[in-house]
Subunit: 157 residues, 2 copies
DNA sequence: TTATTAGTTCTGCAAAAAAAGAACTAAAAA
DNA sequence: TTTTTAGTTCTTTTTTTGCAGAACTAATAA
């Protein structure tokens, strides 16, 4: 399979758009896309600056962001002081898990609200309680999903 | 249970922060919080302007946003031309479902990337494939989660 | 020691997002 | 018909975010 530079650029932009829509900072999705498509899958700071046609500061800050999200990390090689950044494919379970933190936080707030509300509007309170249960179900089922994933990984190797 | 205005304001702000962290527009989380705590659980436009100490335009646009997310809707009463906005507790399954659209979009991008990549870095490709499987597992398990939720709701009524 | 490399941090500036306030609209009321 | 109500939309201002480029830092190399 020969993939042209143009094709890669196009795909990087598409990944950028998906991430953009999800609220990522503008460069973050494209940088992630670049690393996703990179051959070899680890690239230097300068290669990213070059490919993304962005400033060093923009790349540095975007890397900081993606590292905080555990989406990107880097490796080094003896006798070479460059860092080789790569998509952190091993840590992706954690990445997705982190995204679900919102559920936990929001569930807590709903719980607090239920403790505060009067009993004057039982139907609404019930609806709110159901939302609480929805979050609870997600939280409860998460380990099962991870387990299913582990099984799926085994099958596919 | 008597809950002071101050206590409610505080809780609204806390809900605002949780939503903020998740990328909501600034007013959206607070407006949602206000409706979550509202007694009765439906409030007029003016009550929201008043409570949130924001302009009518800010409230109008925020309502538009929350309605698009299916987080808020409104009811009307005969002989009263006001709209009574409320948290759409019934539609929350859809709200959470919508948030998972990112998984579907991202999975598709990962799939496309796998189709483009060479076989030169099988370990990385495997990692990427595992991410694909993670998304797939979530997508597969979603109906089961909804079903579990339905069961939980029955138990708690 | 001085110079180079591999980034990071700081200083503005430009673009985008959010908010305010005014102008507007559609329906109902007077 | 005019007025009021309940919002929406438009215009301007303010705030926030993102970026570039320069200055800086820490480590290596010459």
């Amino acid at each position: 399979m020969i993939t042209t530079e143009a094709k890669i650029k196009e795909q990087v932009e598409k990944i950028g758009v998906v991430c953009d829509k999800d609220g990522f900072p503008p460069l973050a999705g494209r940088l992630l896309g670049f690393l996703m498509l990179a051959e070899p899958p680890h690239k230097t700071f300068d290669e990213m600056v070059d490919f993304l046609q962005a400033s060093k500061s923009a790349v540095s800050n975007t890397l900081k962001f993606l590292e905080a999200q555990k989406m990107v990390d880097y490796i080094t090689f003896a006798g070479d002081r460059k860092r080789y950044f790569r998509m952190n494919v091993e840590g992706w379970g954690q990445v997705v898990g982190q995204r679900l933190d919102f559920l936990v936080n929001m569930q807590e707030k709903v719980k607090e609200v239920l403790a505060i509300r009067t009993t004057d509007h039982p139907e609404f309170n019930q609806g709110l309680h159901n939302i609480y249960l929805l979050y609870q179900t997600f939280i409860d089922e998460l380990p099962r999903i991870i387990q299913k994933w582990e099984e799926a990984k085994k099958k596919h190797t």
